[in-house]
């Protein structure tokens, strides 16, 4: 069993920029430039950078949502799962929570009904909610509750790696803490690795053991949490830390 569950080598990604003036046509622009890194089993790796730097694009390339890229992406044995930033769009508003959580099992077609219900029930309790939530629709839940459901949904696929794209940015401060603790628990107890994408350096520091800093599509620095936060080398890293530590 390999100890690396994700290896990205020299990844470049592109997109067609159609926002030129009328009649100008589209231009092919490069978003990610020569991105290389690895994620080992059970690691929590952070990816920080300001908005628009390409963090979400990296996630989409890894998951195969964005296809216009070259370079190598090597996955472990299972497909990675994702938790999205906006807990309001990531759950089907027309379905109940129970239906949403059961769907991955239905698609796989493995378990039968009573066992499926049991698994859904287990999962919803694992993320700190109870069975009462299964009957409700996403629109009736708060942001924190929805994010927990998103996490439960990702867990249904029993992934080795979860890519969390700004998972707590849209949540209230008092709730952020709880969600981060939940992710930490899943990591320590179930050995799930995380690629934690955020623009919030403090949040990244709180749970990541390794950090990568991205600027304009390039990883300008990567290292352990202490290396990056206590002795940053790249000027951009220093700039980011300065803005945050000035509080």
């Amino acid at each position: 069993m390999s100890s690396k569950i994700l290896t990205v080598s020299h990844l470049n990604s592109y997109y067609n920029d159609k926002t030129g003036k009328f009649g100008e046509g589209s231009r092919r622009r490069q978003v990610l430039k020569d991105v290389s890194f690895e994620i080992g089993r059970g690691e929590i790796v952070g990816l920080v950078g300001e908005s628009g730097c390409g963090k979400s694009t990296l996630a989409k390339c890894i998951l195969g949502i964005v296809k216009d890229h070259d370079g190598e992406i090597v996955h472990g044995s299972k497909r990675a799962q994702m938790i999205f930033q906006d807990p309001y769009g990531s759950l089907n508003p027309a379905r109940t929570v129970g239906w949403i959580l059961e769907e991955p099992l239905r698609i796989k077609g493995e378990l039968k009904d009573p066992e499926r219900n049991k698994k859904v029930s287990e999962m919803i309790q694992l993320v700190g909610l109870d069975d009462g939530y299964l009957e409700r629709k996403p629109g009736e839940l708060s942001g924190g509750q929805r994010q927990r459901i998103c996490i439960a949904l990702a867990l249904m696929m029993e992934p080795e790696l979860i890519i969390a794209d700004e998972p707590v940015s849209a949540l209230d401060v008092t709730v952020q803490d709880q969600i981060l603790k939940l992710l930490l628990k899943l990591n320590r107890e179930m050995g799930i690795a995380f690629l934690f994408i955020s623009h919030d350096l403090k949040v990244v520091y709180s749970i990541c053991s390794r950090v990568m800093v991205m600027k304009a599509g390039e990883i300008v620095e990567q290292g352990s949490d202490e290396e990056i936060y206590k002795s940053p080398k790249h000027p951009y890293t220093k700039q980011l830390l300065a803005a945050v530590l000035n509080d």
């Binding site: 401060v173 520091y205 749970i207 530590l245």
Partner: protein, 265 residues
């Protein structure tokens, strides 16, 4: 200057009436910067919208008074309200992408309040607009004047929003989470800009946010809201250093700090 007395807001468009703001009192003097902090559902944005006169009178039952220079904005005629809006009371919103009209140039948008509230000529309006664009620390006012919103970055758009709000020299600027959608480095600049403008023009600022650290840097007084009510209020340093209410204490302790999260079994 601004006195909100016993404001209660109740929504009636669902089957059961939903009270969103209870017993809200606020006093704002000229040149003050007051912050309203709270999480989602606290009622802070609702209160701000009410003060700005942006809440639909049809679907809501309101109680209390919003006295601006003696005039009750809740009960005055629409024409009187419109006179104040954009002129004496202005508002800046959170999402600069949707609060700017994407098909109109910046120069036109910023000058719109002047066009509505004054009888200045187009040249005079342009002059004022260029001046205010410079005041909000935009590097190339003439260039920005001709641009469209999508050609600017988030930070620049927010400055444009602030410019549009300030162009009529308002007495009150209401800012609803103006820095939330911005990067950390830009946030700091916007806060500094607001402070400077407050000092220079004496415009009072009502600053609404969920981010306490930002509120602490900018405001003199703060109101803490939770589930529609004001739970604590006072001088910002006092509230932060010696919070009295449980919720305030919880809010303060939840401020993200640069420290490792501990895993407990």
């Amino acid at each position: 200057m601004l006195d909100v007395i016993d404001l209660n807001i109740e929504f009636h468009d669902h089957l059961t009436p939903e009270t969103v703001v209870y017993d809200f009192d606020l006093h704002l003097d000229e040149g003050e910067i007051v912050g309203i902090v709270g999480e989602s559902g606290s009622g802070k944005s609702m209160s701000a919208l009410a003060i700005a006169g942006l809440l639909s009178r049809k679907h809501m039952k309101k109680r209390g008074q919003i006295l601006f220079d003696g005039v009750d904005l809740l009960t005055c005629s629409r024409n009187v309200l419109r006179k104040y809006q954009g002129n004496d009371i202005c508002m800046v919103f959170q999402e600069p992408m949707t609060s700017l009209n994407p098909v109109k140039r910046i120069g036109w948008q910023v000058g719109e309040s002047l066009r509505i509230h004054t009888s200045l000529s187009e040249e005079q309006i342009k002059e004022k607009v260029l001046k205010i664009l410079k005041d909000v620390e935009l590097d190339d006012p003439e260039g920005v004047y001709d641009k469209y919103p999508h050609e600017l970055s988030g930070g620049m758009r927010q400055r444009v929003m602030i410019a549009a709000a300030l162009v009529c020299d308002p007495k009150i600027l209401i800012a609803d989470e103006p820095t939330t959608a911005l990067d950390v480095t830009v946030q700091a600049q916007i806060i500094r800009l607001l402070k400077r403008i407050n000092k220079k023009t004496g415009t009072a600022i009502l600053f609404i946010s969920h981010d306490l650290s930002v509120v602490r840097k900018l405001c003199g007084r703060v109101l803490v809201m939770y589930q529609g009510r004001i739970v604590e209020s006072g001088d910002v340093n006092e509230v932060f250093d010696s919070p009295k209410e449980d919720y305030t204490k919880r809010l303060i302790s939840a401020i993200p700090k640069m420290e490792k999260l501990k895993y407990e079994q």
